[in-house]
């Protein structure tokens, strides 16, 4: 049980990620075909250090390492290398030899994560710990199974991890950077300034207009900050409750849910929500960084209108 408490933790999974990123860094340093192998290797090494040591290093030191990573990226020194990719015919031959078993490792990741979450439910551990420790170990087990299924050399696991990491590139740290920016914005009180601006333009007596301003306001707020969770309490306290729930007798459960999903319309359009919009564009090796956002924008606009109509209609019908 003590071993379980040591290994089945977020901390352990962070250290394992650090080891994995460190192996990628070592390979990057050695890859002579990479035009900037020192920069690329240093980038992954610094990320590895912040992962493995992030809980123990002083915050200013982590901050300095982050600045160094950003500087390497800004100077254009995070580049691609050579991954010894097999020819298409070789790959097709492997696919025929291995057959459907090639699907096993990839399918294992969600199934093991879910299985572990269910199996560990009686222990009533912290939800984040269960989900992410399960996900981390499921990923590692999947890599081992992939090795067994493909009979590849162990070094190929690192090469392939490096190929996909390089495909994403420095974008990989963007979600963490944006979350940090959110923290600075919060400490500086940026949200309050925007919320007071939204509250100032609300026409108080017309239900439809208040609903329009409330839904559009939270979407715009989320667009700017990239996160609905920071905006939601401010909008509910500033507009949702005093201008909709109280004067029109609306169900706070209805208003709250619709406001929080209206915020997602802003999330779908903003590069600030990098983990949802920018990272997948990099992961799918798209030509345009903003390709996912461009596809989502018309849907988001239509969803915003749907929110306004639904919220207004449910309140109007319920009175």
């Amino acid at each position: 049980m003590r071993l379980f408490d040591l290994l089945f933790t977020l901390e352990a999974v962070f250290v394992l990620s650090g080891v994995s990123l460190g192996a990628i860094a070592v390979q990057s340093f050695a890859d002579r075909s990479n035009p900037s192998r020192a920069g690329t290797g240093a980038f992954w090494l610094l990320l590895a250090v912040t992962f493995a040591g992030g809980s123990h290093m002083p915050s200013w030191l982590t901050g300095l390492l982050v600045l160094a990573m950003v500087a390497i990226d800004a100077a254009g020194h995070v580049r691609h290398g050579n991954y010894g990719e097999p020819a298409a015919s070789e790959r097709a031959a492997a696919a025929r030899r291995i057959g459907n078993r090639i699907l096993v490792p990839v399918l294992m990741i969600p199934l093991l994560t879910y299985g572990a979450s269910v199996a560990l439910a009686p222990l009533e551990l912290d939800a984040n710990r269960v989900v992410y420790a399960s996900l981390g170990y499921a990923s590692i087990i999947a890599a081992v199974v992939a090795l067994l299924v493909t009979r590849a050399r162990p070094v190929d696991v690192v090469t392939e991890g490096r190929r996909l990491s390089d495909a994403i590139g420095a974008i990989v740290i963007l979600p963490q950077l944006l979350a940090s920016l959110g923290a600075v914005f919060k400490a500086a009180g940026v949200g309050d300034v925007i919320a007071s601006g939204v509250a100032a333009i609300v026409p108080a007596d017309n239900l439809f207009l208040v609903v329009v301003v409330c839904c559009t306001g939270i979407a715009a707020f989320t667009f700017l900050l990239g996160n609905s969770f920071a905006a939601f309490p401010l909008v509910m306290a500033g507009v949702g409750v005093p201008m909709i729930v109280v004067p029109f007798g609306a169900d706070p459960a209805l208003v709250g849910l619709m406001v929080i999903t209206a915020a997602s319309c802003g999330t779908l359009c903003t590069p600030m929500a990098a983990n949802f919009n920018i990272v997948p564009a990099a992961l799918f090796e798209m030509r345009s960084t903003y390709g996912v956002i461009r596809f989502q924008a018309p849907f988001a606009a239509a969803m915003l209108v749907a929110h306004i109509v639904l919220l207004w209609a449910f309140i109007a019908l319920g009175r």
């Binding site: 962070f14 994995s20 992030g54 809980s55 290093m57 915050s59 200013w60 982590t62 600045l67 950003v70 800004a74 790959r91 097709a92 492997a94 459907n100 090639i102 699907l103 879910y114 979450s117 992410y132 996900l135 981390g136 890599a143 992939a146 190929d156 392939e160 990491s165 740290i173 979350a179 920016l181 600075v184 914005f185 400490a187 500086a188 009180g189 940026v190 925007i194 700017l224 939601f232 306290a237 409750v241 169900d251 706070p252 459960a253 709250g256 849910l257 999903t261 997602s264 779908l268 990272v279 997948p280 799918f284 090796e285 030509r287 345009s288 596809f295 849907f299 969803m303 749907a306 639904l310």
Partner: protein, 244 residues
């Protein structure tokens, strides 16, 4: 003086418009906002500074980057023909089109969300290894062919979108979801006792609206792909390597 705090938002907008290096723009915006709000650059125990706030929240947010651990397994499977296999399997399913597959992806994501299952980023677990090759395979699109690049880009965008639509508008169907909890605690702070199951119930019309609109967009995607192909005359030539 209050408006000075918004300078960071301006920097972000300018950076995105001018297409500068995003990471550098974000850090610059954070540093400037912090300094504008009177935070020191390097802080002390009592007065946190910009540098340590950056370091603390960067370390505190490592969870969002844990998906890197899944990359070796996905990459190794790809090296040994994962995508080729997925494409071959989906071609046996005549009814499969890129749009229909993305719609299935969105609904699958609803199901996962409604059951309260959390799996981290679906872009890594489902998008890249499964739904993207399925959709490309169903449309017989080649990721490396220059002629297909416009259609491939569109299918990739749709794969990212399907995950987001399903995740954002499906997760609050589960009464234990983080979004529902935020509604409950915020309402409690404002003096209202709210039942989380009732909050989740109101997510049903939202999920239906998102399914209808997503369905329309994915139907449009199929139409658009069909048109591009007819114009290119691609239907007449048998796709490479099929049936051999």
């Amino acid at each position: 003086m209050e408006l000075l705090k918004l300078v960071g938002v301006l920097i972000i907008v300018a950076g995105f418009v001018l297409r500068l290096r995003v990471a550098a723009v974000v850090v610059l915006a954070g540093v400037v906002t912090g300094l504008a709000a009177g935070m020191p650059f390097a802080g002390t125990e009592s007065a946190p500074g910009v540098l340590d706030t950056l370091g603390r929240s960067f370390a505190g947010q490592r969870i969002v980057t844990l998906f890197v651990l899944a990359l070796p397994a996905v990459g190794l499977s790809e090296r040994f023909g994962l995508q080729d296999r997925v494409r071959e399997l989906i071609r046996r399913l005549r009814a499969a089109t890129a749009g229909r597959l993305q719609f299935v992806f969105q609904l699958l994501r609803y199901g996962i969300g409604a059951l309260g299952i959390r799996l981290g980023s679906g872009h890594v677990t489902f998008g890249r290894p499964l739904f993207l090759p399925m959709a490309l395979g169903a449309e017989r699109l080649d990721d490396e062919s220059e002629a297909d690049s416009g259609a491939v880009e569109l299918v990739k965008a749709a794969t990212g979108a399907a995950e987001n639509y399903g995740n954002f508008f499906g997760q609050n169907l589960f009464f234990g979801a983080a979004g529902v909890a935020l509604v409950v605690t915020t309402c409690a702070d404002l003096g209202y006792t709210v039942d989380p199951r009732r909050v989740a119930l109101w997510c049903i019309p939202v999920a239906i609206a998102a399914a209808v609109l997503g369905g329309v967009q994915f139907w449009w995607l199929d139409r658009r792909l069909r048109r591009t192909r007819t114009r290119a005359g691609g239907d007449a030539t048998p796709p490479e390597g099929v049936g051999s």
